[in-house]
């Protein structure tokens, strides 16, 4: 035998990890792999949050952006929620969907920014908000979605909210759905969806 060898030192014996200061500088490195590893290495480091938020806005490499968001979302603080909430309006589809995904994992701090998002004049932002609420593990999610279905004046927001609410649909929501169809009688998709849900 000896053909399957352990001829390298065990991984534990390799170099000491870089310091927080080094990692924060590396967030702006020219090498995307270096930025990506720096972002992951900053997990749990509160002082790095502003730099990470700046990196989200500036980053063009989707792999690095994903790593930055993985680290940021674990903070679940007001600063992160507000910072990421702003990206729901981004023209970059990759950024706005990645921001929505991260926000959906932040049940502590996201509820505070929901009222502002629901009142956003841009209906695309409100559609993205429904996407956040669909996955946000928070007891208020249902109520906000119901509010969107009852009050939002854009049919695409209402259908997004209905889709998000369906997995936890209760009998008490049925009238809400029927009323939505009456508010948008010309939307064939909304009618179809409500009929399917009530069947």
């Amino acid at each position: 035998m000896g053909l399957v060898r352990r001829n390298a030192p065990p991984p534990e014996e390799t170099a000491a990890p870089p310091t927080t200061g080094t990692l924060m500088r590396q967030l702006d490195d020219a090498d995307p792999d270096c930025r990506r590893e720096a972002a992951l290495g900053l997990g749990g480091v509160a002082e790095a949050v502003p730099a990470l938020l700046r990196r989200v806005a500036a980053e063009t490499d989707p792999l690095v952006r994903d790593a930055v968001l993985t680290t940021l979302a674990a903070h679940d603080t007001a600063a992160v929620a507000t910072g990421l909430g702003g990206h729901l309006a981004s023209d970059d589809a990759g950024l706005r969907t990645a921001a929505a995904e991260a926000l959906a994992t932040m049940p502590v701090s996201v509820p505070a920014i929901i009222p502002g998002l629901l009142a956003d004049p841009d209906h695309d932002v409100r559609v993205m908000t429904a996407m956040v609420l669909a996955d946000l593990p928070h007891p208020g999610s249902q109520t906000w979605l119901a509010q969107m279905i009852a009050e939002d004046d854009h049919p695409n927001v209402v259908t997004a909210a209905i889709d998000a609410l369906l997995p936890s649909l209760e009998l008490e929501h049925h009238d809400l759905l029927r009323a939505a169809v009456q508010r948008f009688p010309d939307d064939p998709f909304l009618r179809f969806t409500v009929e399917a849900a009530l069947r």
Partner: protein, 128 residues
């Protein structure tokens, strides 16, 4: 069981949209499969040769533009037509869809007749 109908993959994170498009396309003579985000679509396209993709824009894990780019890249390399359907109607969205490799970009909602007509047009020539 053999099925000679053209195969379409409906890609949308909203279960209600998938059901709606599935129903309409089934009635229009297509065999329909579903994927809930762009990555699932890419994985499905690696295993099955679809004749048409109907793709949403805003999806978790992989958005519609990246999905279409990946379908067109050497990772998948499908020549099948791609119809993007989005809630977005910002200026430039359609250009982005075409740059990614989509054949047609429509804004929701798309009614039954239009979806059926467009799907048949895009797959004209595929044995039904």
């Amino acid at each position: 069981m053999t099925d000679n109908r053209p195969k379409v993959l409906v890609v949308d994170d909203a279960a209600t949209v998938r059901l709606y498009h599935r129903t309409l396309l089934d009635e229009a003579g297509f065999e329909v499969a579903e994927a809930a985000n762009g990555l699932e679509a890419v994985e499905a396209a690696l295993s099955t040769a679809f004749d048409l993709f109907v793709v949403d824009v805003n999806m978790p894990k992989m958005n519609g533009y990246t999905c279409v780019e990946t379908l067109r890249s050497e990772t998948v390399g499908t020549p099948a037509p791609v119809l993007m359907i989005s809630t977005e109607d910002r200026p430039g969205d359609a250009d982005r869809a075409y740059a990614a490799g989509a054949n047609l970009y429509l804004v929701k909602p798309v009614n039954a007749e239009r979806l059926a007509r467009v799907a048949r047009m895009l797959t004209a020539g595929v044995a039904a």
